[in-house]
């Protein structure tokens, strides 16, 4: 087995606030293989953005703090290395795009100049070379009349075009990994589909890996190879798309699916939002963070944090129901091999 492109283990991030310390990320592990797509899903506030921003050195410190963990790119530690190896990594080996393209570009710098910047800084291009390359990159992300558009400013672009420009900027140095933090949430549906198609095509062309953060399980099904489901600062289930969707092994994943509208007429179901709200991250519960909302909660769930149980090949769930001696066997949950 080859080692993964990116391996994040035991990541912990906290924020000091007036109300106390927010434990936003509480021990996250995942990995991304070269050229593959990992989707991270979960409710708002569960720590998806903080996880990837920690890797990119984008956590404001203070108030933020990475208290434990590591993130290795091809075996090289990148956490907290913003000035040593970090400069090479950010914007060069790892590119990143964000949720709101309207506010993510500098309003007083031309689009072309903004795309050219990483090339000037990381690749030592001359101004003219970088400018020419910026136009090529705009063509790559399918912006018509790229040469003219490169001279324009963000306010002259639509939201979808700005996100394309962001993508062009993020891939300018041919990164091996692109992180997209809810890249389509701020865009309307048809544009969303175009951006996702573009991302997939670029991935095929360049062979880069993709971390895609989203709330939308439809997007996951369409784009991802692997899925990590996050809840209250931890990953509660991870595995291939098929495993997580069709052999869901954590009650939270089942809850998310039930709350999602389906495009498939054969799978129409009544939408059932998950009752209750995520726990307070100032003082997370001792036991499983989902226990209070979980329909199958048992005594032990309140008392001890759930362990990570293997459910299948490279498919894990952080749930006591997966324990071989668990008294409950909910039918809607796929249980690990050891139950058979």
């Amino acid at each position: 087995m080859t080692s993964p492109l990116l391996e994040v283990s035991n990541l912990h991030v906290e924020f000091d606030t007036y109300g106390g310390t927010v434990k936003a990320v509480r021990g996250v592990d995942f990995h991304v293989d070269a050229g593959k797509t990992l989707a991270i899903v979960g409710e708002s506030g569960c720590g998806k953005s903080v996880t990837v921003q920690a890797m990119m050195g984008l956590i404001p410190m203070p108030p933020g703090r990475i208290t434990q963990g590591s993130a290795r790119l091809r075996g090289q530690e990148i956490l907290g290395r913003s000035t040593v190896d970090g400069r090479e990594v950010r914007g060069a080996q790892i590119g990143m795009i964000f949720q709101d393209p309207m506010s993510s570009l500098n309003p007083t710098m031309s689009i072309g100049d903004q795309i050219a910047e990483p090339l000037l800084v990381h690749r030592g291009y001359s101004a003219a070379q970088a400018r020419a390359r910026a136009v090529e990159l705009l063509e790559m992300v399918r912006i018509p009349e790229a040469a003219r558009r490169a001279k324009q400013y963000p306010f002259e672009f639509s939201g979808g075009m700005l996100q394309r420009a962001m993508i062009a900027m993020a891939i300018s140095c041919k990164p091996t990994l692109l992180i997209a933090d809810e890249p389509t949430t701020a865009l309307d549906v048809t544009i969303q589909a175009q951006i996702l198609d573009l991302l997939r095509d670029l991935q095929n062309e360049t062979g880069m890996a993709l971390i895609l953060i989203t709330h939308d399980l439809g997007v996951v099904a369409r784009m991802a190879d692997e899925v990590a489901v996050m809840y209250a600062g931890r990953i509660v289930e991870s595995g291939s798309v098929e495993d997580v969707f069709y052999r869901s092994s954590h009650p939270y994943t089942v809850g998310l699916k039930a709350a999602m509208p389906s495009n498939d007429p054969q799978q129409q179901h009544e939408l059932r939002p998950i009752e209750g709200s995520p726990p307070d991250l100032f003082s997370p519960p001792v036991g499983c963070a989902y226990a209070a909302r979980c329909p199958h909660s048992m005594g032990i769930c309140q008392q001890r944090p759930a362990q990570l149980f293997p459910v299948g090949d490279a498919h894990y769930a952080r749930c006591w129901l997966q324990h071989p001696e668990s008294p409950h066997r909910p039918a809607e949950l796929s249980l690990g091999g050891h139950h058979e």
């Binding site: 990119m56 984008l58 970090g86 950010r90 914007g91 990143m96 709101d100 506010s103 007083t108 002259e156």
Partner: protein, 310 residues
């Protein structure tokens, strides 16, 4: 951009006309006239003088004459300094005031932007605390206090050194200008510092600065290319009014440092109701300020592409 410039110039001309009219109306509604301060005028002499200056004509005709001569660029002859053309007074003394004012605005803008950016970068640390304390001083202490203190300080420094490092008063060389300009620009500098600080703090936390960091740009480049240019925009908008405050506030500083500027004549003229000098200097100042505000607007358009295109 051309259309925008022309539009601004047209608006500027309207503004100047408005200033001229308002001054005319204000002056003629104040009781008394320039001749009432004359001693020992017999009715005959007074009638003579009124005839000569056109004060006996109907008010509308006076207004028409007055606008007419402005269009020719002639502000007339002073009432109180009989042999002097208002144009000569302006020509001699305005360059002094303007030099002082422009120097003061430059100090205020550069200093304010620099200190404002520093306080934002060192937010809640020692440099921030010190500078913000000075800013409160700068805003609340009136300029004549700074003028007096500045002069006193100069005297002491010169005494201590045993030679004249910088002249204490007067006009002529760059050395004469430095301290008065600094004093004159002080409160504006304090104001700009505060503005720049809040503008900079907002931008440091904006999404596009996060993008710049995610691109792996070095901190220096992020500061110069992304933060500074955007943070400076609100500062540029207050520069126009700041020029007005500084040029009109120059009188006190001119007085303390014995600088032969226009301010002194202006105040004298108002006290003596010297119609032609008041009108001439007001309209001239007005035109100067309007020009400055237009220049600042064009500068804004140059910095912010969103304005340029509209």
């Amino acid at each position: 951009m051309w259309q925008y410039t022309l539009k601004r110039i047209f608006q500027g001309i309207i503004t100047i006309w408005f200033i001229a009219t308002a001054t005319f109306v204000a002056m003629h509604s104040v009781p008394g006239d320039p001749l009432s301060s004359e001693r020992a005028t017999t009715p005959a002499i007074r009638a003579n003088l009124e005839e000569r200056y056109g004060l006996n004509k109907p008010i509308l005709e006076q207004y028409a004459l007055y606008i007419g001569s402005f269009l020719k660029g002639d502000f007339g002859i002073s009432f109180t300094q009989r042999n002097r053309q208002v144009n000569d007074i302006i020509r001699e003394h305005f360059p002094v005031s303007a030099t002082l004012g422009i120097l003061a605005v430059t100090f205020a803008a550069l200093g304010g932007v620099l200190f404002g950016a520093l306080t934002a970068l060192y937010r809640n640390r020692l440099p921030d605390t010190i500078i913000m304390f000075l800013v409160i001083l700068g805003i609340s202490v009136p300029s004549f206090v700074f003028a007096a203190l500045g002069q006193l300080l100069l005297v002491n420094i010169n005494n201590l050194l045993g030679f004249s490092l910088l002249p204490v008063a007067g006009w002529g060389t760059v050395a004469h200008m430095l301290i008065p300009a600094l004093v004159l620009g002080m409160s504006t500098m304090a104001y700009v510092t505060r503005l720049m600080r809040s503008s900079m703090l907002e931008i440091i936390h904006s999404d596009y600065i996060r993008t710049a960091k995610a691109k792996g740009l070095p901190a220096g480049r992020i500061f110069t290319r992304h933060e500074l240019r955007n943070a400076i925009l609100p500062v540029v908008t207050v520069l126009g009014p700041a020029i007005a405050t500084i040029t009109t506030g120059g009188f006190v500083v001119e007085l303390v440092f014995a600088i032969p500027g226009l301010g002194r004549f202006f105040v004298q003229a108002v006290q003596q109701l010297d119609y032609t000098v008041i009108m001439g200097t007001t309209v001239f100042y007005g035109a100067f300020l309007v020009t400055m505000v237009i220049l600042v607007d064009l500068l804004y358009g140059w910095i912010d592409p969103r304005v340029r295109v509209q």
